[in-house]
């Protein structure tokens, strides 16, 4: 004893996919003492297969097959692997609020909530309690030091950058996180996976929400919540004219064009969802463009947001310049220089300065 240098302990959250597997490998290679952990979220692969007979099964994270994949990778890497049963937490903190949000006419982002409550919430706390120094994931993002303090940063590969989903991490936890894929491209990651002989190196990327079995969140909500209830309401245009009937507000998201079911001389887009009156408001594309929004539940990495910054209002949104004002009740009022299309309550706005994430908040309203 005493001769061995005490290794830094890292808990690698592993979904069984390529990214987190390579992340774990890279950590091990760098000399960390790595332990793999997979969150069991109570998602059954078998049901998926039954629901989609004959269809291509997109490999999703955190099902039973993925747990086995993660275990196989750990065994290949020669590290311990554990599975945590998070199915109860998943229901309580992610799936229930997801459904509630849609029923309130919002467009939730469960991945952000999962990062907030599960991966960088309960799992990270657990890692600390169990004596780990760091938790690591396969996200494309980075932790960089600015004036000696850790900040969340964008991935070098802008196309894959997932920092948007990670703004909900608590500031105090940034110092306990490693993102080993910070400076790698997806191609490079796949190549590493292939070089070290990971079976899963050509596994497809997970795209959709992991707990939705057939990639249709509408069916999911219908099944879980509103079965048998009469939820139909009116579809109106921006001038208040009734155009038709809808089958539940949760079927619509702001900016949606397909599936409205009303023919008009110009393309119709969902403009607004009025939950109090059970109305869906539609109109032409130009109405979708708005400049101002209110956001709440801010999580910030800086003490004070600057008056001007760049912001993204959804993952695929091209960041835009905006002015930020903090209102009395701690919510943020954001005004974009240029109007932005389809600002959706329930989604998050994330603020950037260059490659650094300043923080973010959940959009609660948009204003003309």
């Amino acid at each position: 004893m005493g001769k061995n240098k005490i290794k830094v302990k890292v808990m690698a959250a592993m979904s069984g996919g390529v990214d987190s597997s390579v992340a774990a490998y890279l950590l091990k290679k760098s000399g960390y003492e790595v332990t793999g952990v997979t969150m069991c979220l109570g998602i059954s692969d078998n049901e998926k297969n039954l629901e989609n007979p004959g269809q291509n099964i997109i490999s999703k994270c955190c099902g039973m097959d993925s747990i086995k994949d993660a275990a196989d990778v750990c065994s290949l890497l020669g590290i311990n692997h554990y599975v945590y049963d998070f199915s109860v937490h998943m229901q309580e903190f992610i799936i229930k609020p997801f459904i509630e949000s849609y029923l309130k006419g919002r467009t939730p982002n469960p991945c952000i909530e999962c990062n907030r409550f599960l991966k960088f919430g309960i799992l990270l706390e657990k890692a600390k309690v169990l004596g780990f120094d760091y938790i690591a994931t396969g996200h494309y993002a980075g932790i960089v030091k600015v004036n000696g303090l850790p900040f969340l940063a964008r991935a070098l590969d802008r196309k894959k950058d997932q920092s948007y989903f990670l703004y909900s991490i608590m500031k105090k936890n940034l110092g306990n996180i490693i993102f080993p894929l910070h400076k790698l491209t997806k191609q490079e990651v796949r190549k590493i996976a292939c070089d070290i002989g990971l079976k899963i190196s050509d596994k497809k990327d997970s795209q959709e929400i992991c707990f939705i079995t057939n990639d249709n969140y509408r069916d999911f909500i219908k099944e879980s919540k509103v079965k048998g209830k009469n939820i139909t309401g009116k579809i109106i245009d921006t001038s208040g004219r009734i155009l038709g009937e809808h089958h539940g507000v949760f079927n619509y998201t702001i900016g949606q064009r397909k599936g409205i079911g009303i023919s008009a001389s110009y393309p119709l887009y969902v403009q607004e969802i009025n939950i109090a009156k059970n109305l869906v408001v539609v109109g032409s594309r130009s109405y979708l463009e708005k400049r101002r929004l209110i956001a709440r539940d801010a999580n910030l990495f800086v003490d004070k947001l600057p008056a001007c910054a760049k912001a993204k209002i959804r993952y695929n949104h091209e960041e835009a310049s905006c002015r930020i004002a903090v209102t009395d009740n701690d919510s943020l009022e954001v005004t974009f220089e240029q109007p932005q299309s389809a600002i959706s309550p329930g989604q998050s706005i994330v603020f950037y300065k260059d490659d650094i994430v300043l923080g973010g908040a959940v959009i609660s309203d948009c204003i003309h």
Partner: protein, 385 residues
């Protein structure tokens, strides 16, 4: 770091003496027991010696012992074997809700062939109710299969009463004794059992060997065919080294069993007392006294078993849990649920199973570590409202 193995119900370390006995049967005495030359005869003698030891251990005759490949195989052979041999004249089986999967799935298989299965529920300690068994019996009942002691919660069933009921009604009684064989005394006549399954690796023997006791006169059909080994009931060249190791393990158990029961019962009760006194909302699963001497199983409210397991493992302590995600099963332990615990408690169940090689210091250290760990994990549990 010192490693402490408290998962002896999953498997045990092969006793060095058993291993020593086995070694010479790989490259030294390697004949096939079915061969008539001296190589074969030597191997056969060794095997028959083990059969004699096994029979003697449970008050049976050697020709009532069939060596198999595992406890699971023995369960399959007993249940399916009896059903097939009976030619489906009687097609009803009574079992319990907390049997091992080897029994439950054998029953499910027969269900698909037209059998009716009665799954007797258990009370909050895990005991089957004798009245429920009696009520389930019909003229069509062929077999009662109820385990000696449960692998998860350690509850010891009233097997003598079950045996009596079976005899009175002219029904076969199969007892899965995988958890008890070598750990508590078994007398097949006293219990009145017709078929009994056991496995070597649960009593410090090697993996890959089991046995089925089959009372003289009980008819079963083989499920593995293709040779006349084991009274034509289990075709396969016998696993001679394994069977020798099994025999040696039984010999050792016979010598040590009384002492082990006394030592383990004391350590078990000390551990249970320690948990009860130091951890709030910890629920002992199974009966406090009528349980396996080496079994401790607690449900800890607000935290799931795998977190505890990992924390213990990091301190070098090996235990097991009723939360089964890592083994590819979604649902938490059906046994813990069958005794009336909710899903959260079933997921929060942890089993410590003591063994021959554990010391009191180890048990003390495990207890101390567990108390600290549960407190720390509870601090961060979002399930505490």
């Amino acid at each position: 770091m010192k490693k402490i193995y408290l998962d002896n119900a999953a498997t045990t370390r092969t006793d060095p003496e058993a291993l020593k006995a086995m070694i010479q049967y790989f490259s030294g005495i390697y004949g096939n027991p079915s061969s008539i030359h001296s190589f074969g005869q030597e191997a056969k003698n060794a095997m028959e010696h083990s059969r004699f030891i096994a029979a003697d251990f449970i008050n049976a005759s050697p020709e009532e012992i069939i060596f198999t490949g595992s406890g699971t195989e023995s369960d399959n052979l007993a249940i399916k074997g009896v059903a097939y041999a009976n030619g489906f004249r009687k097609t009803h089986i009574i079992t319990s809700a907390i049997e091992h999967h080897a029994v439950l799935e054998s029953c499910h298989n027969l269900e698909q062939s037209g059998f009716k299965i009665s799954y007797i529920p258990v009370d909050s300690y895990g005991f089957v109710k004798l009245d429920d068994i009696k009520k389930a019996i019909s003229k069509n009942t062929l077999l009662i299969s109820i385990m000696h002691a449960n692998n998860e919660i350690g509850t010891i069933q009233p097997v003598e009463e079950i045996g009596k009921i079976a005899r009175e009604n002219d029904i076969y009684y199969h007892m899965d004794a995988v958890q008890t064989f070598g750990h508590i005394n078994i007398d097949v006549d006293k219990i009145g059992v017709d078929l009994l399954s056991a496995s070597a690796h649960k009593l410090y023997g090697p993996k890959g060997v089991g046995l089925l006791y089959k009372r003289k006169g009980v008819k079963i059909s083989p499920i593995i065919t293709g040779g006349s080994q084991e009274y034509k009931l289990r075709a396969s060249t016998e696993n001679v080294p394994g069977i020798v190791g099994f025999g040696k393990a039984i010999e050792l158990s016979k010598i040590l069993i009384e002492n082990e029961i006394a030592v383990q019962t004391r350590l078990r009760d000390k551990f249970i007392k320690g948990v009860n006194e130091n951890i709030k909302n910890a629920f002992l699963n199974g009966h406090p006294a009528r349980r396996l001497p080496n079994n401790i199983n607690f449900s800890f409210d607000f935290i799931e078993g795998e977190g505890i397991l990992m924390g213990l493992d990091m301190e070098g302590i090996a235990a097991s849990t009723g939360s089964a995600c890592s083994s590819g099963i979604m649902e938490p332990s059906y046994v813990i649920k069958a005794i009336g615990r909710n899903s959260v408690l079933a997921r929060g169940s942890v089993r410590f199973s003591l063994g021959r090689f554990n010391t009191e210091d180890e048990i003390d250290f495990a207890l101390k570590t567990l108390i600290k760990l549960v407190k720390r994990l509870r601090k961060i549990s979002p399930l505490i409202k």
